[in-house]
Symmetry: C2
Subunit: 208 residues, 2 copies
């Protein structure tokens, strides 16, 4: 097995274990055991668990940056937004260890916290831009206070749904379309009645 | 210093340290050090960190149970709801260690997770009941899908705002009134225009 291959297998196994048990509960020995390699072999590739977490975060960050920027040429329709959000939640599910222990990992790794905050600012700008576009095109009716409040709530749902829905008694986390709907419904409340009705038809189709 | 006094001081100090550093990062030795007592003295009162966490959780649970049940005799007005939510967020701030590491603590202590889930179910029932009351009194206009979606989003905001807002770049966590508004605004979106306007006046007053 080549060096590059082992390095990648360490990352894949660490990600799977972090997602399942939470990164704070998985040691480098645990990862080496799971791969059936020696701790020395693992240390040849990564000096510490922190290095593994940092590299996984970089991959996550790269994926999120790719999906967070909307093309601002034209106003997206409801289905565009649905698919766009679905893509974001898919990426989050792939790297859910980060959201599982958001506060703990941000506290332990200040450099990653800063980069995550930069990601949040980008999410905020994109969300705000989209809401302003919808308001300017008269698709939604919302004043400045409503738009700011809506943006904050959408950011909360985007970043906390995954962690929270694994704790709710009804296991909502198994349905990414529901996550999308929990975001979109917040904007839907400001649509005209007719468009609201159309969007709910769309939601019922996806949520089936 | 009496036994009862020491026991209470251990709980108070543990709560302060858990809130500041996160429960997973605070050992019983750390707590004993901070109190300037021997580890043996601490173990006389609590056999393990788990016992301290369990007792603090019981206090938190008791407080939350007290504030989660609404009197169902009459329909509360906007100010009643505002003050009621403010009380909930105050309690949460007091025991914020639980929300900081919600997934980690729920995973480590399955018995507490079950009790927290029971609390979530109660929150859900109370929220649903209130939203139904508002709909029946024609204060809000929302169909069954909208009411179910709204209830889920309110539960998310109630339980995740505190943890998330400490990570956002703008330090939103310092303002419990903003947390209240992030919940109430979600219901406000379904009010008639005039009531929506009145509620926003109230919000602007509290948010100043």
């Amino acid at each position: 097995m080549g060096k590059r291959n082992t390095r990648q297998r360490i990352l894949d196994t660490a990600l799977a274990l972090f997602n399942e048990h939470g990164a704070p509960n998985v040691s480098t020995n645990h990862i080496a055991d799971e791969l059936d390699i020696s701790p020395g072999n693992l240390y040849y590739h990564f000096a510490s668990r922190k290095d593994i977490i940092s590299e996984l975060f970089s991959h996550f960050e790269q994926h999120m940056l790719e999906v967070t920027v909307l093309p601002d040429t034209q106003l997206p329709n409801a289905e565009d937004i649905w698919l766009y959000l679905h893509l974001i939640f898919e990426r989050q599910i792939q790297y859910r260890f980060w959201y599982r222990d958001l506060n703990e990992l941000s506290g332990s790794y200040p450099a990653l916290k800063k980069r995550f905050q930069a990601l949040l600012e980008l999410q905020q700008q994109t969300t705000q831009h989209l809401i302003n576009q919808l308001a300017e095109a008269d698709v939604i009716t919302a004043n400045a206070l409503q738009r700011a409040t809506l943006t904050r709530n959408i950011l909360l749902t985007l970043n906390c749904w995954l962690g929270f829905s694994t704790i709710t008694p009804d296991q909502l986390a198994q349905n990414p379309n529901l996550a999308v709907w929990q975001v979109i419904s917040q904007v839907a409340a400001y649509l005209r009645d007719e468009e609201q009705h159309q969007l709910e038809q769309l939601a019922r189709m996806y949520l089936q």
